[in-house]
Symmetry: D2
């Protein structure tokens, strides 16, 4: 056995999420960054790769050359997987080329620029028999795993209602609009048809489906641009219906001044309910009709195997965003390793957000935008591209 | 000067809110309960009044005789105001009779059975020149007053978004349906066209309008009956638009298992935002784009006069639901006393939810039910009765 | 049956705790204030009594005349009990006179100026066969009752350690020294040999003994005056040993700037532990070695009868300081009524801090001051007056 | 420039803290693990090193051979620094040998078995001109840095009181005594004269001195063994006096059932006070006498350069224990790199707990044990070894 070899596209200087990918991928010592095309400027890409102590020969000028060159290297040297850390519009062409050359893929969300691309990518992935992981980070928290486990075992009973919210405030004024993080997200050519829903609403929707095991079937959406001059949404609320009849509400906002990634989910069943909040990620609250609420702390008492497989430290040592992100990489790495060395596949290794989640995420974005544009209250959730204009 | 004399209709044995009214009314030693018609059963009413140490002659068999008899007493003896603490369908006839005999009124919310009654009551109140207070308890908390003050002074800037939620779980199963609290609330003949929205949604809507100083102009509603066999809503979400263009979301639920009166409001402005939660009522959080959040504690540092006028103890002494309820009575009492003795009206005395709030509350209920029944997404908020069937 | 009749000594204009006593005593409609000597200035006392709508004839110039005059009234008119709400040095003479005239007593803590007086008062109380209640308010919270119940049932196992803290910050500078609340507390002639320990440390000690059912047997104390020019302590820490061998720490401070009555107690057993905090009084946390912590909410699920007997509202309606204070009065009133009308004594009625707690409280103060003055580490807790100079 | 090369002694299979060191050291891509002697069993050490993908030639049988062999390698290959991750009694001989061969040192706390060793190590470190870092992890949190900064700028005024507590519950029964983590900590031959104070009390003492910038000058200690049959302390409280006259209390416990690393510190000044809690590590609360408390969130608004230098992600992305640990490595790495490549030393690079903290920590342990054994209340804090028997 050996470490898996990772290449990266995007994530150059100033791109916060590139650094997150690098730390997360390498945190558990099972993956090693070996090459990259970090910037659209070849010289920047080269310099940046050197600052990461990469072999200068493997600091590429662009993703084309990276994928083509790496494909030519021998099996003991070439990268195994590629991390795509660019603005949304580049996800698809990079993923396509990578898949066609047999490289596995870790991709930032949302998976593509639109649903049509996502569906095509699903086809390409299958055809080329490569693995695909989508970095729905919040899935990676141990107490989110525990929450999913508790729902799955029936502890909550029939799910009746889901409230999921993801407020941020960083776009509450024009001040931030020209920052590296903001400018492409607000540009339809690079971000797609949505800013807020594509950036964070999709995380909230995924989290609701992931923990509950349910699927959204209908929605009623109200997307807004609260700051003048924006062509894409910076805030929105979506009423939801799930496939078991449960109702839901999803709130996402980038103009909720004073909030920072305050993702929170409450799932109400007819036997018990649960609450998880990102800013207090190591805790999970379970409430009952007529017993005291339980506060589960990560690592305390009996936790599900899935939850345990996503912790590195004993109870009382807070793990955070980087560790949750690393959990996605770790499970994906275990999935790839089990295949590569034909060892037994750990259960947790299959618990990685993949191309199905990628497709559902893009569908969520398009359905939400379509629903918001409609004067009809309810809109059926469809998995086929829709005409939005 | 003397204490004001209070009569009560309803609130007999087992009625939790009757005891709340009695404690709240008398907490500040400015109002004294002198008579009542506490139960629809004359003997029960009599016995209950005696258990409260009332003069047996003033323990009445029904509200008619109470109002008529009290009206005949001399000015040094007869009651000044009446508290209406019955199921919704009796509010209007009692209030009408009281007003026509010159008694001031404290009424539980929702004010009447429907909007038409509320509008008629508004007319009756004006014509008979009596005062009317509606017990929107949550308005009575000092930090809600402070929140209103902060919005009014412009500290939050332009309000962009309001999220208000009022989850309860006590009706999450059929178990409670036959309790004294539940059975009439779920009966359209006594409760009106809504259960959840009429009971708690209306509190949430009032709180949002009260603190923000804005008015709801449009709504999109999704009301549900999550437990089989119920004819009225036990859960609902309402998307809101306010008269300044702000968006909002209101969540109310009686099937959110594990929750107890977890009323919470967040108001986001373009300069600052605030958050207040009923279960931590003595605190108010104000957040900014680029400064530390502030945690205001009741009584600490400089508070607005309106807030100070609604506290009885120094900082560090938690005041709760009964005190908030008592604040409604206290301010209303000051209003009445200023009139009676022609003394100066304290500013806080005018800050009592009155007949306008009563009408808006009933309108909220009818508009929400109508909006929920519609297949159109948006519904204009109207102040005239609507045909709902 | 009738309401009990209360007289009050002290608690005139500006005395926050006087108003607390009046509200608390009358909250449950079983006690009525009928007379008072509210101020050392006879005219002030008279005017203040009138502002409370008392019979002018029963607004007395001083406590002597009040007790003597009331004693002369017939049994259908005279007061049943007296509330003593003065600076500490007056507690004893007032209580003595009241007891000797057959009046029951509610007394602010600390009970007397020194331990010798407390022991003498204990004798007087017994000899005159009157009842005595000490307002250790924090005992009155429902979740404190629940905590006591949980310890008593053995749920925590053997108690190993107790940490109790009561930080305040209101005396952290000289600014407040001349306030009505501060000036007598810092004057040995009226406050006794301690300021901080006598004012709040004694609450903390009482709470620890009350919940745990243990008694302090040894202590090691470090009392401080953190602000220049003070002759009494404004801060202190006390190491404790209890009669079962458990260790403890008590922190009390009036110079912990930014804190307001932040009383908190943690009791660790060998099976479970508990935590209660005054500023979140309606919650009790119980933790275990290898199960999730439980968050008990007042009124949710099964609560002990003692706890239930100290609530007025269902779960989700925060009750606070005034209600806790009222619980002392309510239980004391039930005790007196059961005796007066020879009805059955409710269990909760015996759960009132009485003269034994008064004596132990005074002993705590004297032992702490003596221990602090000693160069020896450990000091035996004694119930006899000690020479401190 | 290149990555620094790290060797590790100890931290083999099952040793939680070894994995923490490896993740932390490599998190920021500036240090690379190149060799190790991970276990006292040569074969285990070898196998473990291979599982980490190390060069088999550099998986050593013991620390002697590792240090001697590495010293023989050329400057382009040999390790730069060694991490000591063994039970306490081995820290000194390993550190001594490493220093004598010119290797820099990262050492787990407490630094040595006793104070005499620490003082000798200080001498050896100086003589051999190597750098030494002690992993006082909690120093590494960004909001601890911010706290230190706030005290240093005078925002709190004169420090009056410090309360620091570190409760754990994992040794509250005999059940855990034979675990790998517990057995050596409870054995005087490997742990030294203290268990609880040496393991966590020393963290609390360091944190108090680190943030406040003060030094402990006197103490009064009460150490306990709460579980039968233990020869070392598992719980204790220490009263403190600091060199500016401030008082303090330090609580440490391993028998506080239900607690996990619940380190918390409160520092009260005469202008403001602060509170930081490990389990909510990304927040810092600052309170004032008469203004709202401030809640500082990591990354929100203006933070000190020292604090910023210890974050990797923007506001709203919780960083935890591993990142705090990594901060110690990062700052130490920057210190070494600045020396190695003679570049400018970043200010933050000097903010690493070093040999002085190591000596003070060992002195804290010995002084506390001596003070606890004494019948005198106060004990002067000494920096010279003391006779404890």
């Amino acid at each position: 056995m050996r470490k898996l070899r990772l290449g990266m596209v995007g994530g150059g200087p100033g791109a916060f999420i590139g650094e997150v990918h690098r730390i997360a991928a390498q945190l558990d010592n099972e993956i090693e960054l070996v090459c990259g095309a970090f910037s659209s400027d070849p010289q920047k890409s080269m310099n940046f790769g050197r600052s990461l102590y990469l072999d200068p020969e493997r600091c590429y000028a662009d993703y084309h050359s990276m994928i083509l060159q790496e494909a030519k290297l021998g099996p003991e040297q070439r990268m195994d997987l590629v991390a795509i850390v660019t603005p949304n519009h580049l996800h698809f062409p990079i993923a396509k080329l990578a898949a066609e050359h047999g490289f596995h893929i870790v991709c930032d969300k949302p998976a593509t620029l639109d649903l049509a691309e996502a569906l095509e990518l699903q086809h390409i992935i299958a055809k080329n028999d490569v693995r695909f992981a989508l970095t729905h980070t919040y899935n990676g928290y141990p107490m989110v795993k525990e929450a999913k486990h508790r729902v799955a075992t029936g502890e909550l009973g029939r799910i009746v209602k889901i409230v999921v919210e993801y407020p941020q405030g960083w776009l509450s004024s024009k001040d931030n609009e020209n920052s590296k993080q903001a400018e492409w997200r607000m540009d339809p050519a690079r971000s797609g048809i949505s800013c807020c829903m594509a950036d964070i609403g999709v995380h909230a929707a995924n989290l609701a489906e992931y923990i509950s095991g349910l699927e959204i079937t209908q929605l009623c959406a109200d997307l807004n641009s609260c700051v003048d001059g924006r062509s894409l949404d910076d805030d929105g609320t979506v009423l939801l219906r799930f496939n078991n009849g449960a109702r839901g509400v999803l709130l996402a906002s980038q103009v909720s001044l004073g909030e920072q990634n305050n993702l929170k989910i409450r799932i109400y069943g007819d036997k018990a309910s649960l609450e998880w909040q990102h800013l207090n990620a190591n805790e999970l609250r379970i409430s009952f009709a007529d017993q005291p609420s339980q506060l589960l702390q990560a690592g305390v008492g009996t936790m599900s195997p899935l939850s345990q497989a996503n912790m590195r430290t004993p109870a009382g040592h807070p793990e955070g965003f980087l560790e949750a992100f690393a959990n996605i990489y770790r499970q994906f790495s275990q999935q790839l390793r089990a295949e590569l060395w034909q060892s037994e596949m750990p259960l947790a290794a299959l618990d990685v957000p993949g191309i199905e989640q990628a497709v559902r995420g893009m569908a969520f974005i398009e359905n939400t935008v379509a629903a918001s544009a409609s004067t009809q209250k309810w809109h059926d959730f469809k998995l086929s591209p829709m005409d939005i204009s």
